[in-house]
Symmetry: C2
Subunit: 251 residues, 2 copies
DNA sequence: GCCGCTGTTGCGTTCTCTGCAACGACGAGT
DNA sequence: ACTCGTCGTTGCAGAGAACGCAACAGCGGC
């Protein structure tokens, strides 16, 4: 709809890969470098980009500022923090907090593993809907029609031998997750990693986010992973309480 | 330079405050709501904003994605992580990592305090040049002419009774910081908080970033703060080594 | 010192973007 | 139940902004 803005945003995306020169940017966007120069100037004036040296542009500090100011506004993140940190301290493994926003599942917080073997992820990254434990937890909270709608919109890209690859199988899995109160990712996303996730609930019992623990298989086998479930559920419960959840209220 | 882009960025800034409607945005930017609508559509297509409900827009997930992808690319942050985490575990206080970028000092990482009394800050926030320990460390690394240039450009807003309020005093402080190898913020920014900071150096001995420990005065008095310095310096040294610093090389 | 590369500027044209006004959807109030 | 008001949305036409071109400048390398 807005050409210049559209181009500018595309350029930002290109810059996320690393510092770029005017010409590189111009080529990747398919526009004249003069155009890029002017867009960059505007972006620079808002601190969305900054110049590394005379020729290289990189993403600027306004982005961090905006992103974190917005994250800061999310009550779940702040409220859940102590519980998640505790789980991270206790297990030493990577702990994630993810939420469902606008059709996608996004990691909104992360506590790094203390081990040397770690999974790669980062805040802001999108999680695949069909092969991550957090996504299963979040989607499982929806009512049947919505679940079906989502299940049918997924592109079931197989990531490992265990990846769920069909809508019926996914719906069955969601039902199981809703039933037992936590979700597993049994190396469905990456061969070397498996996860467990549980819901964090708010005042009205609705699912606000999902907590997960991700562990490399070399550190903990499947039984070991399952053994983490009680701690995970305790954490999720604690986080839910911090978010105003009332355990007595049954709905 | 680019009107539409400029407006769009201004709107993003307004959205950082919280979800807004079209009309609110239109008014705050002083443009017609039609214009806002079109910009929002473009921003939405790039996932820079998303619709909360029918009428409210909020910042979208692309921002977190970009911001963190970019942060991820910063070697200092990744390399310094284990050392900072250790310091955080050891002391239990808030640990910050900040760097100087494009004329300003920005927090690029943060490890939360374990105590209930905490300072408010966040990744992406800009630190005042004249009254924070991290800024002093970073600016103290520059050569004399640049220091002076910066010192004279600062607006010395007094934050507390201890805030440095003149360029000569600031320059003297920088000299002291460079001399002793760490910087103090003796409640110069906020009455209830004091900090110590030290430089993290890279291969050529240049200062890449500053580590700081921030402590509420109710938890630790001035002498207690000073007692943290050896741990801080040890951490900074460890982080520097991880960044390729060579202690034998003297320059 | 010359050549090539890259960022920068002035300018004229074109097409994008803007604001207006009218429409439609939704809720509140009577 | 009806109307009014509010807010998002669309079509349109004029205006001005953004675009690309071509020429210039600054820098480093062969």
């Amino acid at each position: 709809m807005s050409q210049s803005l559209d181009r500018a945003l595309t350029l930002l995306d290109a810059l996320a890969e690393g510092p770029r020169t005017l010409d590189q940017l111009a080529e990747s966007a398919g526009v004249h470098k003069t155009t890029v120069l002017r867009l960059m100037r505007t972006l620079e004036s808002h601190r969305f980009v900054q110049r590394d040296d005379a020729r290289h542009y990189r993403l600027g500090t306004a982005l961090f500022d905006l992103a974190n100011r917005s994250l800061d506004g999310r009550d779940v993140r702040r409220s859940a923090e102590p519980a998640l940190r505790e789980l991270n301290d206790l297990t030493g493994h990577t702990v994630h907090l993810a939420s469902y926003e606008g059709g996608e599942v996004v990691y909104i917080d992360k506590y790094e593993s203390r081990h040397h073997v770690r999974m790669y992820s980062r805040i802001g990254k999108r999680a695949a809907l069909h092969c991550t434990a957090v996504a299963k937890v979040l989607v499982a909270d929806f009512a049947e029609p919505r679940r079906r709608e989502i299940a049918e919109s997924i592109d079931y890209v197989p990531m490992t031998a265990n990846t769920i690859t069909s809508a019926p199988a996914y719906l069955a899995e969601l039902a199981a997750v809703a039933e037992r109160g936590y979700a597993l990712d049994n190396s469905e996303h990456e061969d070397f990693i498996h996860c467990v996730a549980a819901p964090v609930r708010g005042q009205r019992g609705e699912v606000l986010a999902a907590v997960s623990v991700s562990v490399p298989k070399v550190l903990l086998d499947y039984d070991g992973l399952i053994a983490l479930v009680p701690d995970l559920l305790r954490t999720a419960r604690k986080a839910s309480l911090a978010c105003g959840w009332n355990p007595d209220r049954e709905d």
